[in-house]
Amino acid sequence: MSLARNPIVSVKEATKTFSARDTGQPFHALGPVSFDLREGEFFSVVGPSGCGKSTLLDLLAGLGAPSSGSVHFEGKPVVGEVPDGIAVVFQEDASFPWLNVFDNAAFGLRRAGLPEDQVKARVDHALDFMGLSGCAGIYPSQLSGGMRQRVCIARAMVLRPRLMLLDEPFGALDQQTRLLMGEEMLKLWRDTGSTIMLITHSIDEAVLLSDRIGVMSSCPGRFIEIVETGWSPERDAQTAMDPRFGALQAQIWGMLRAESIKALKAKR
């Protein structure tokens, strides 16, 4: 997959300042941040806890507005609502417990008014892709955390988004399930051609999955550096055996270590 593509998202000098709930004092959470997401790339963001990774994702998704600066998706400013063509998968389980797996996955399509035969075709394909085809009629409460997260990914995938934003979707899963889910995300990315931005705490995950990795500083988060991995789109779990994998890990950890210590001290 070529990396030299047009930017699908353009972030210019974006910052986010919140008003602290108890004191009312302004709290500078993010930025200024400037970067582009290239069409069809797999971009990961790593950074210390509380550095503003999820805030950055919110700005891109239109779930929050920047305090200053701008965010553009496909050339149009992102203001106030999630633009058409963007889907978000959250860290927490966002499956609807009152709907079965099929209806969960079909939710967005039905709301968009797609004819039922098309809904069925798309959902069946997505469930098959996510290894959920045998679970269409059952409810999320009957599934494990990993399977529920797959339901949420299927619900996002059927919308055929041009940009998928993943906010630590594997954060609550065990290591083995994380690895498998990572492989599935790569397959999804290759098959759909969507642009993916993944927020993650895991350096390994970011190095294995991504074309580029944005390394963020401690709060207020800024990009220290954006690292190109140079992997082929056909990368898989074997990529971890590549000597460059360890070098990339070390490079990113080298940048993150001092920032993580800063973040820890700030917490204390």
Partner: protein, 266 residues
């Protein structure tokens, strides 16, 4: 994949629990039967449960208290409907207006400390000497339970579901209809169950003490006239009615929970 709790739990285990439950009830009934027949309990004040049941069947077949039963059931049903409707709306309003909620919070918390029956004379003055004061009593006793449970349910909707609603570009109405309400349904359902129970308690209690007709009044009347078969027959009928309603609500709730919540076994 974790298996379905219901399917994980062997049928024989589920049935065993139900069988044990029935056995406990049957044991108590048999003990009372033996106690009254063998004279352990004074037979003047307590008749055997089998006689209570026969009396209940007789009362039902004869239809002697048809009007009273109808009056009680209709008053309680209207009270339930009004309490569910207004309690739900009140809960939504409190959820949407946190300032109002902060003002009313202590009042709501202490609401059930007030013996609601003391309002009955005032309700008669306001609504007249008819069934409506009883309906109002049932309504007042149930409405806050419904409102508090609705509020509780709305507050517990996970933030991630509301973010998902925004991701799917839903408007306020659709968010409420398609996400907030279904997500809070278990709590709303608890409110409905409580509204049913509280309305019946208030209506029958009101009849018992203050009314001139109805289930409660007839039980009190039979009691005052030492008419044990009628009194126990009516009590048995009342227990059967309320038990059936509770059973139906329990079954509906089980169906609801089976779909959405992992049971304690998993």
């Amino acid at each position: 994949m974790t298996a379905l709790p219901g399917s994980l739990q062997p049928a024989w285990l589920k049935h065993r629990v139900v069988a044990l439950r029935l056995l406990v009830i049957a044991g108590c009934v048999l003990l009372l039967e033996a106690g009254s027949r063998l004279g352990w309990i004074n037979p003047v004040s307590f008749i055997p449960p089998s006689k209570m049941l026969l009396s209940a069947i007789e009362l039902l077949v004869k239809g002697s208290f048809k009007t009273d039963i109808w009056l009680t059931l209709s008053a309680a049903s209207i009270a339930v409907l009004l309490a569910v409707l207004f309690g739900f709306l009140f809960g939504v309003i409190l959820f949407k207006l946190p300032r109002l909620r902060r003002v009313l919070d202590p009042l709501l918390l202490s609401y059930y400390a007030v013996p609601i029956f003391v309002l009955y004379p005032m309700l008669i003055v306001l609504l007249g000497l008819n069934r409506w004061p009883l309906v109002a009593l049932g309504f007042l006793f149930a409405v806050v339970a419904m409102a508090v449970n609705t509020l509780n349910g709305l507050e517990r909707v996970p933030a991630v579901l509301l973010r998902t609603a925004r991701m799917l570009r839903m408007g306020r109405i659709d968010e409420l209809r398609l996400i907030t309400l279904p997500a809070s349904l278990p709590f709303v359902f608890t409110g409905i169950k409580l509204a049913v129970v509280y309305s019946f308690i208030a209506v029958i209690g009101g009849e018992f003490v203050l009314s001139g007709a109805g289930f409660g009044y007839q039980i009190a009347y039979a009691y005052n006239n030492f008419d044990n078969p009628t009194m126990y027959g009516l009590m048995t009928l009342l227990l059967l009615f309320v038990g059936t309603i509770n059973l139906l609500l329990h079954m509906a709730e089980q169906r609801l929970y089976q779909r959405r919540v992992l049971k304690e076994l998993t």
